[in-house]
């Protein structure tokens, strides 16, 4: 509690402080409640935006309340800090492209984790330079804060680098990797325990900080770039836990509550993603799986496709098929995101509808690279969400669909997931476009998606490949459809 803290910092808690302290505590409770309500409102598109505002207000209240705390004195510096942070944050938020969301969340995450870690370190030094006596409780919570915060920081940075393409997406492995990691973890534990008895040992402390930072790196590098969204969401929950840890260190309930909320949400989203990919979290984290487009993709494609025949089609013919169809289902995937083709797709839909074609969008839960990725992009392009259909709703309809138009999607429409036990993605629910009368697939080549496995769909008789970047191809289709 603040009372306790201010007691720590100033040695005494004046009655005046007490009243103020109570006020602050209540403000904190209000803030926490606003977070909860905000998250609740985030549950429906109608209220989501308002929900985000609500949470933001809660944050404002929390900050103001904190600034009123007696123990907070050097406002000038703090305000400067806040202003700098706000500016950077605002600019980042304005600039980022919708497709770069995972990176964005990733990097923000890292900063949050870093902050929590810094709080732990700072508090440690304060106590050290102050009373000097670090209680066991304080020691434990401090170590927790350092560990979680540190891992979140470096882990997120690596994830960012991979998603941004600054570093290779393919898993980085080295001999004895697991043993090394294991030793480091064991070392950290041993060190922390020793630290609890010799809390004055600053060198040891900094050493432990370094180890936790290193752990973050080692934790993420062996994971394939395409699995980064899962990692990001997991780290998101870590950053929450880090905040909670900070809360324990400062005995601040609101930090604990908010942290727990974020922790829960991160974990749940991670689960959802794993389930939709039908892989276990451990598999994602330790199997050096998803090799990312770049690497594995081309290779496999080159190998296996040579023999089989592919039916190619040009924009003109494709446009004919679409224009004269009764029903078209559009299946967007990561490719549409990369190509930023959502606006042209929207345009295409409009023209088709003018021709009396019934157009629906089939959204796979893990199409793209974040949960709900496609929804966000299509929303950006003003596609009414009444037109978006979940996997379970649309799959039965493919039988009556004339043309399924797959735009930059691959794994989520890979029949192997349904048919071949051997496939690594076997069992992952897919959009069954191969049930449609005709399927047009827009992608640049025959190379694979993030799962790095070849896709039978491309070689079926009913399938026609329209090779090229999603943006150009869709644009061409639009041009052609206009003619009809």
């Amino acid at each position: 509690m603040i009372l306790i803290l201010s007691a720590n910092t100033m040695g005494i808690a004046l009655p005046a402080t007490e009243i103020l302290g109570t006020g602050i505590e209540l403000a904190y409770l209000l803030a926490a409640s606003l977070f909860i309500l905000g998250l609740k409102k985030l549950g429906s598109p109608a209220t989501a935006r308002q929900g985000n505002m609500t949470a933001a207000v809660g944050m404002l209240i929390a900050v103001v309340a904190t600034l009123l705390n007696q123990s907070v004195l050097n406002y000038q510096m703090i305000l400067v800090g806040i202003i700098i942070g706000s500016i950077i944050g605002a600019i980042a938020a304005k600039k980022v492209a919708m497709t770069a969301m995972p990176q964005m969340v990733g990097i923000f995450n890292g900063l949050g984790g870093a902050a929590s870690a810094l709080v732990a370190v700072g508090e440690y030094f304060r106590v050290l330079n102050g009373s000097g006596a670090v209680s066991v409780d304080a020691g434990i919570t401090t170590m927790l804060g350092v560990l979680i915060g540190g891992v979140t920081l470096t882990g997120s940075l690596i994830a960012f680098a991979k998603l941004q393409g600054i570093m290779t997406g393919s898993p980085i492995t080295f001999p004895l990797q697991q043993p090394v990691n294991f030793l480091l973890v064991a070392g950290f534990l041993a060190g922390s325990i020793y630290f609890l008895f010799t809390p004055q040992n600053t060198i040891l402390f900094l050493g432990l900080v370094a180890v936790s930072l290193l752990l973050g790196v080692l934790f993420v590098i062996p994971i394939g770039g395409a699995d980064m969204p899962v990692v990001v969401s997991l780290l998101n929950s870590y950053s929450g836990l880090a905040a909670s840890a900070a809360g324990f260190i400062l005995m601040n309930n609101m930090l604990i509550i908010s942290g727990a909320l974020v922790g829960a949400s991160g974990l749940i989203l991670t689960q959802i993603m794993c389930k939709a990919m039908n892989r276990s979290l451990t598999n994602v984290l330790f199997s050096a799986f998803g090799t990312g487009e770049s690497a594995g993709g081309a290779a496999i494609a080159g190998g296996s496709t040579s023999q089989k025949v592919v039916h190619r089609v040009e924009a003109e013919e494709g446009a004919m098929m679409l224009g004269y169809a009764r029903s078209v289902v559009i299946v967007p995937g990561y490719g549409m995101a990369v190509a930023q083709a959502q606006h042209s797709v929207r345009e295409l839909t409009d023209y088709l509808e003018r021709l009396g074609v019934e157009v629906k969008y089939a959204i796979h839960p893990v199409a793209g690279r974040m949960p709900g990725h496609m929804n966000v992009l299509l929303a950006e392009a003003n596609v009414p969400y009444t037109q978006l259909y979940d996997m379970d709703d649309i799959n039965p309809e493919f039988d009556q669909t004339d043309v399924a138009l797959v735009i930059g999607a691959n794994d989520v429409v890979n029949p192997a997931a349904r048919d071949s036990q051997s496939s690594p993605i076997y069992g992952m629910p897919i959009l069954e476009v191969d049930r449609a009368k005709h399927t047009i697939v827009i992608k640049r080549s025959l190379s694979t998606g993030f799962a790095g496995i070849d896709n039978e769909l491309f070689y079926k008789d009913k399938t026609m490949m329209l090779f090229g970047s999603a943006k150009d191809m869709v644009a061409q289709l639009v041009a052609e459809v206009k003619q009809l």
Partner: protein
């Protein structure tokens, strides 16, 4: 274990229950905004940062604290703004749908 820590733990468990209940109700459509929204909330660490950076005198703790304030603020402000940017679209769409 100190009473304070214990209660902290109780609070933590309860909050987790609330989190799970609330989040599980969010539909896939909103998972990305939820992710970044939650991320913004995790910037609450800013409060911790403020408390640590608060003291008047100038020392390592304050320095670390101030740095933490900057980072956390980026997380908070950036997070909420970007979430709002995403949700704005949903709103737009709704108006039109």
């Amino acid at each position: 274990m100190a009473a304070g820590l214990l209660t902290g733990f109780v609070v933590f468990v309860l909050a987790s229950f609330v989190g799970v209940e609330v989040i599980n109700k969010v539909p896939p459509t909103l998972h990305t905004p939820l992710m970044s929204g939650a991320n913004a909330i995790s910037g609450i660490a800013v409060v911790g940062a403020l408390l640590v950076a608060g003291a008047q005198d100038w020392n390592i703790t304050i320095a670390l604290g101030l740095f933490a304030v900057v980072l956390a603020t980026i997380n908070v402000v950036g997070g909420f703004l970007v979430t709002d940017r995403m949700l704005q679209m949903f709103k737009k769409k709704e108006v039109k749908a």
